[in-house]
Amino acid sequence: MRPAFTDTVFGAQQSFRALMEAIARPGRLQDCDVLPDIPEGLEPAAAAALLTLADAETPVWTDAQGDAREWIAFHTGAPLVDDPARAQFLLATAAMPALATLDRGTDETPQDSATLILQVGALATDSGWLLTGPGIETVHHLHVTGAPADFVAQWSANHAGFPRGVDLFLCAGARLAALPRTTRIEEAG
């Protein structure tokens, strides 16, 4: 079994601050490089995000298999569920589960919605989608390599349900960016 955070307290704290900055400033890249030695199939930022947020109180869904799955189950202590709709946190290493199938909370308790941590090929901020909404002064750019082809359509439907909706962390290697449900995405014209 590979180790978790070298330092349980500061590893989680450092990752959380990256996650908080990311969700407060959608589309901005944050460094989250506190896990040097993790199982194959997981990437450092995505694994750190899950380790920081999930525990025995939060059902987790993941498509990771083998060592990676065991690593998640052991280090988070979270119950692993088979149905994405029942998960509070989801870690997708390959195909993204359809956003519409995930828990979006209710109008009175929109905070009960799922948080999806998605491993993607690469993230860049010099081109790509135009992001607007809370946390963004004018406009942020985000280019995601490896998002599903119909991602923007799925995201528009997710955004339209505000205050209900899924929140998303996009992770590539040791870097991550967030898309909270409040963010509007336009394809660059």
Binding site: Q13, I23, D107, E108, P110, E137, F162, D167, T182
Partner: protein, 285 residues
């Protein structure tokens, strides 16, 4: 009561920043959802803290959940760095987290506050943590929390608008000089905590992250950076932030928020800046 001597090292009897890791995770999950739903109150399992309710138990828990060894912490109480509440919370974190503290707004990465926002413009690297006694802006109008949850879900804020209308009809202006409710992101009515109306405009499109913690009421909410925060008002009665028309006796400022201080027993009064760091900076101290 005997004063607790300051330690020069972190207190090893406690986890870093006092709270255990499971509690921090629970609070961190609430903070992320709070930032994703600006202005929406999120229930959390507030812990008993080593200070009484009303002294900032909510703010302390939020600060403890985000605080790291590289942070520089400033704590203010009504704008002042040197009042009991501010001093004891600053010393608490110096003791349980060995974190660097400051009174300079410009140097702080986390500013925990009781009822003021510093005069100096905040920046992108900074996080404000507000201590909140009553997070529910509709509390005095609808005492049933189950009902206020439904009103928030429906976005039905007619109660607050009628209250404001009646205030203006009776006395010509809003009846709330502090904790004047705001609309966040055009969707949620939010209590800005009991900050003076003078500070409400500083919440609007701020570059800093604003987190609100209510310990007794067990709620966390947030305003992300660059988010619209509009004080509740009417088109023909726009919201007016109020400031005493005097100059600060100490630094001469005509723009900062002032406290009125009784100077003697002959009815003498003076006005000084509520933000002690801002006042000292103006005086070149």
């Amino acid at each position: 009561m005997n004063a607790i001597p300051p330690l020069n090292r972190p207190d090893a009897a406690y986890n870093f920043a006092y709270l255990d890791e499971a509690t921090k995770r629970m609070i961190r999950r609430a903070i992320l959802k709070a930032l994703a739903i600006p202005g929406h109150q999120i229930p959390f399992g507030a812990r008993e803290m080593p200070l009484p309710y009303g002294w900032g138990t909510g703010g302390i828990q939020v600060t403890a959940a985000i605080l790291g060894p590289r942070d520089v912490l400033k704590v203010i109480d009504q704008g002042a760095d040197d009042t009991t509440n501010a001093v004891s919370i600053r010393r608490f974190f110096a003791r349980v987290a060995d974190v660097q503290t400051t009174t300079r707004t410009a140097d702080a990465s986390i500013i925990q506050t009781r009822h003021r926002i510093p005069e100096r413009a905040l920046t992108e690297g900074q996080v404000m943590v507000f201590q909140v006694p009553m997070p529910e802006p509709l509390f005095k109008l609808e005492p049933r929390l189950a009902e206020t949850r439904r009103l928030h879900a429906l976005g039905d804020y007619s109660l607050a608008q009628v209250k404001l209308y009646e205030d203006i009809a009776k006395q010509g202006e809003s009846g709330s000089s502090y904790a004047h409710p705001v609309m966040v992101g055009g969707r949620y009515l939010m209590s800005p905590s009991p900050i003076p109306g003078f500070d409400n405009p500083k919440l609007h499109n701020s570059p800093a992250i604003m987190l609100f913690g209510a310990g007794r009421e067990k709620k966390i909410y947030a305003v992300p950076p660059y988010t619209t925060v509009e004080s509740l008002d009417f088109d023909d009665h726009p919201f007016k932030p109020v400031r005493a028309p005097q100059r600060c006796t100490a630094c001469g400022s005509t723009t900062s928020y002032l406290d009125e201080i009784i100077a003697d027993d002959q009815g003498g009064r003076m006005f000084v800046c509520s933000d002690t760091d801002h006042c000292a900076e103006n005086q070149g101290i």
